[in-house]
Symmetry: C3
Subunit: 274 residues, 3 copies
Amino acid sequence: METAGEMLARLRERRPMIHAITNVVTANDVANLLLACGARPIMASAPEESEEITALADGLVLNLGTPNLQTISAMFLSGKKANALGLPVVLDPVGVGASRLRRETAARLLREVRFSVIRGNISEIRALAQGSGCPGVDADTAQQVTEETVGEALELVGRFARHTGAVVAVSGALDLVSDGSQARVVRNGRAEMALVTGTGCQLSALIGAFASVHKGQMLDAVSAAVAAMGLAGELAWNRMTPGDGNATYRTGIIDAVFTMTPQVLEKGARVESR
Amino acid sequence: METAGEMLARLRERRPMIHAITNVVTANDVANLLLACGARPIMASAPEESEEITALADGLVLNLGTPNLQTISAMFLSGKKANALGLPVVLDPVGVGASRLRRETAARLLREVRFSVIRGNISEIRALAQGSGCPGVDADTAQQVTEETVGEALELVGRFARHTGAVVAVSGALDLVSDGSQARVVRNGRAEMALVTGTGCQLSALIGAFASVHKGQMLDAVSAAVAAMGLAGELAWNRMTPGDGNATYRTGIIDAVFTMTPQVLEKGARVESR
Amino acid sequence: METAGEMLARLRERRPMIHAITNVVTANDVANLLLACGARPIMASAPEESEEITALADGLVLNLGTPNLQTISAMFLSGKKANALGLPVVLDPVGVGASRLRRETAARLLREVRFSVIRGNISEIRALAQGSGCPGVDADTAQQVTEETVGEALELVGRFARHTGAVVAVSGALDLVSDGSQARVVRNGRAEMALVTGTGCQLSALIGAFASVHKGQMLDAVSAAVAAMGLAGELAWNRMTPGDGNATYRTGIIDAVFTMTPQVLEKGARVESR
């Protein structure tokens, strides 16, 4: 069983290639984040080539932000190819509740592609769970996960993990990770990360990188990625000087992943087993 | 009647959601700028979902940079939906004179969508006015607005504002804002802002954010946004150190919007009523 | 015969407009890099307008990253238009070996468009040369160009330059530039530049800018651009402080192009004639 720091060290050694079919708003940051952690990004969203690109990669990340019919088609082709090849596939259902296109695409993806990991905020995960017919999901679950509501949220997340067979990660004030039988609560990160566009997309890509080199211990790989991203947010915040804002913070978060040593992650990760 | 500072304070309080159908080159900066000012960005350019996304938003920004048939189709659907819902709609006719596709799209948008605000540089606004059959627009109007030509430019801008029913904002050495009966001359900003790609796109998004929470005083809301963006350019320039260039400036401008207090805007805004 | 510094000075004076049909991941950095060097970027990827946009420009850059059928169609239209108008055209065959779509598109581009410059890493250039039926290209050429393999690599590059009639530039530990009869070895740059996404795309755009104002001395214009980009990578690295990572480096490289004087380039360029 590897620790978070050991996992980061192995990721840096292996340099996995991650195929990201991601949104146009945050694609550049996702690519630089992947480079920062030691992975090699490849972006390709045309259905005419997406399967071939996936076949070259060690992991696949599907991101529903700014979807269109072409990229959606690429997601299905790449998702199935990754399944056939045994590559881990991460789903980031960005804004899944916002349109029928996203809801239906996500629901169909859940039916036709086997995901290793699904990551979103609590609203996205709840919308996804409801849309997938996951039993016992209702709209009353508190929006933000707090120390008070963590138990209830973990139940939802665990149920959805069992329903999909994926490790499910929920980002928020507390981060939750569950594989349906075990769970982790991660207490890294800062609220200000939400003021930088794409930190969620970056985390999903980071999860893809960790997952691709630690397939046998998916729950811990995802938790390590979640802790690493949150810790990067903390470290970058500490480097902010007066006058700095969310654009400097954006740069700093990627820098903090780039400079993060296994020792720093080991020491800074606050992961609780539940 | 609220001041610029009070408007910024209200924007931060309300956190409007702004739907931006924007170009792929500057989408990330537009999203971070919206977050910096206190708004919440949502980007969606597929015609299959754009109306629904607009329906969730408090304002809509249409940006003609890097148009294609799909995003253009989304612009019409979202523009009409925003009109039906009474949401403010901002048009940024990026490079409208550069191709028939842009000219015809802009002309048709002006016929089929009611815009609250139209913002561009003087060439774009003139090209747009001519293409829309606005009376009295000729190609002789000086290209750059200076203290000498401001009167002539204001006439063009005022005529176009009356023709379209929109508040028209012209960016340049001097910034002009007119609703057809009243006008403002804004003397904030720096010429170097033009060396950062997308500062115009960012301003249009900022205008959308201000407009969405101050619908009753559109002329002043637009002027406040113009002053805020220009002031951010000044403040960020002052933080530049030797060796810094346009990439640091890019980061600094968004940071300056993020850290701008209502008091700073109040004191720094140089808006003249004409 | 102008020196590298004189070429940069002339570029800054002329402010050429460069039409880039580039990938969505790095489009923003490409635009800011073009502004940093003194050029004016224009991005347009829809086949409905790409020819007209090219006709307004002084040079054209085609980048195969994230291709789709629409942007590919725009590349052919713009490439032919640029040929008809005598504008320099740069090809950046990003990841050309990764998919049939990229291979076939590149091969067809080489048949139907006359390129002034082709720039890639050694794997891309070899894949391209093989796909184009360039005689004598085999898969055994060493992957990375080193002082030991530079002779062999220059042979491949020279043969491909003669085959295509283009100046061919290969990026790597050493950079090679050849027009088929003469060659240059450029010893600027740092390995860490590969940890910033899009530095290759930026170099191709910079080459387009240099080429557009120095059509009569293409070999030296390309070498000057290669040296300038590498030097920017060196200068930016020297400004890095502890805790900085690839995101700060990204900003710094563009800044270094922005602040680079002709004198600095003159003194820092390490270009050897072979």
